[in-house]
Amino acid sequence: MISGRGPYHTALYWTRFVLVAGFGLVLLIPIFWMLSVSLKPLVEVFQLPMQWIPHPPEWHNYPDAWNQFPFTRYFENSLIVSVVVTVLNVVLSGFAGYSLAKYRYFGQRALFIAILCTLMLPIEVLMVPTFLIVKDLGWLNSYQGLIVPVAADAFGVFLMRQFMLHLPDSLIEAARIDGAGELRTYFWIVVPLVWPAVFTLALFTWRETWDSFVWPYIIITNDSLRTVPLGLQQFQAQYVTTYNQLMAISTIAMVPLMLVFFFFQRTFIQGITLSGLKE
């Protein structure tokens, strides 16, 4: 793209690169620092001049940090909660989106608008009443409490409806003429056609749940039910902070999201772009 444009354009091309790469490097510094500190002995953490590459690397910071709190348990909890929330939300969002896109019934428009309105109600606003409801249900310190209120999120409904509106009605009619029931039509005809959207929604929901902090923080005090973000918060709130171990455990906590990001970059970026729509 730069060929035959003259020296001015070549200079501009490289100026842009230097600018963007320089800023990218600045963005990376805190992450490098985190990795670097995670491999240092505690006495060297604040030592100047700073050594970016610790020598020798103290790999044992990682198992030491992991074993200081029951992180195995925290990871299990995070996994259980995020997977169940994702399945629940995606399945129910698919049903609701299908209903709004491909059926006609009384009060449909009003119901759709009511559902859209719930997107304006984040947990930061509703934390007190939601806490009281979950408390009345006896769901404080429970998996139900971590799962059910979080699965109640209308973003997926909105997303699935949009995708399903574009499906031709003739396909669904054809399935029906062949004698397929409603559920069968949905699972065999509709779901395969919107599979990319289902996958994007699943990944997006999983990420949000895996990373969620506010709601679990409010309702969980029982250590055996803590998720990874809560465990990390516990770790850094200790009276004496062992920064090298704290950075080690932060690095570990980052790994699952990073792996998913690297493997599903396209979907991930799509999800991030979609989350703009969510607000």
């Binding site: 992450i31 896109a101 930061e124 606003v125 109640a152 409010i218 990001f261 991930f268």
Partner: protein, 312 residues
């Protein structure tokens, strides 16, 4: 990004009812019945965990509920006391400082970056991945790393030292905590909103630019005559989304400063959390929630306007 309308689905003609059995087999019944069946599970969840809490927030904001004794109706007392409460005033000020302090420069930074990214650039994919890292970091890790960066002997002060600037007490000096928070929000969200802009830029057809090039338009003319007008829906979307994102900030505050020093970082969501779930002043907390909600709804109404614009 346009919201589909209802006009693109087929309307059903009402059919005269015959027998009940015939009705149940009719297309009309199928739509009425199965429409509700498919919608019901999610709708009931939303009723239980969105609508009921919303109504309850209104109700509790009119009571003095404290978790120990049953709620008594106190009218608008909670709202009146909030208006007189200096910690609430501070919380509103701090939230506005944070929200606008982050957002206004962010709109320009991220647009500028997106424009650079959208042009010819070596190693674009690699760079884009790098830019994504702050945004995909788990939120608690992000807050933890920044708390550490703000440490008196942390990397931020080391960096300032290189330029001969005296160290700053990012965590304990109330003049500097908010600028520090704003800096950390830029680190995470400038790349994030750049991606939103980039999506918008890539939706602009190349044909416009080719036509402009034939007409001999300069780069500046192309930007103001093509890019900016066509990017308008995206710009408004970014504005609204960033405002709402920042109004909800909670995790960083809890982890980095716990609202301190002297309430200098006690944003509204943190005020709600403290009053409701630490002091058990449910009425006051809910009144503050309604206040925060009003702010966010006004941002969202702006966004609805945005969508309407985008379609015409």
């Amino acid at each position: 990004m346009a919201v589909p309308t209802f006009s693109d689905t087929t309307a059903l003609r009402p059919q005269p009812p015959r027998s009940l059995g015939a009705f149940l087999r009719s297309a009309e019944a199928r739509h009425q019945l199965w429409g509700y069946v498919f919608l019901a599970p999610m709708f009931l969840l939303l009723v239980a965990f969105k609508f009921v809490p919303m109504v309850q927030a209104f109700y509790l904001s009119l009571t003095n509920y404290d978790l120990l004794s049953p709620p008594h109706f106190v009218g608008l007392t909670n709202y009146a006391s909030l208006l007189r409460d200096s910690t609430f005033h501070q919380s509103v000020t701090v939230t506005a400082y944070f929200v606008f302090g982050v957002c206004v420069p962010l709109w320009f930074f991220s647009l500028g970056l997106a424009l650079i990214f959208n042009s010819a650039l070596p190693a674009r994919h690699l760079l884009r991945m790098v830019y994504f890292l702050p945004a995909v970091m788990p939120v608690v890790v992000y807050a933890t790393v920044w708390r550490f960066l703000f440490h008196p002997y942390g990397l931020l002060n080391d960096g300032l030292h290189l330029f001969g600037v005296a160290p700053i007490n990012w965590l304990t000096d109330s003049r500097w905590t908010m600028p520090g928070f704003i800096l950390s929000a830029w680190w995470r969200f400038v790349p994030y909103f750049m991606i939103l802009y980039l999506a918008g830029l890539q939706n602009i057809s190349h044909e416009y630019y080719e036509a402009a090039a034939i007409d001999g338009a300069s780069g500046r003319q192309r930007f103001f005559a093509i890019t900016l007008p066509l990017l308008r829906p995206t710009i408004l979307l970014v504005m609204v989304v960033s405002l709402i994102f920042m109004s909800k900030v909670f995790t960083n505050v809890l982890i980095i400063t716990g609202g301190g020093p002297d309430g200098a970082t006690s944003v509204l969501s943190f005020f709600i959390y403290q009053n409701g779930l630490q002091f058990f002043k449910m009425g006051v907390a809910c009144a503050a929630s309604i206040f925060l909600l009003a702010g966010m709804v006004s941002f969202t109404l702006m966004q609805l306007g945005v969508f309407r614009d985008g379609r015409t």
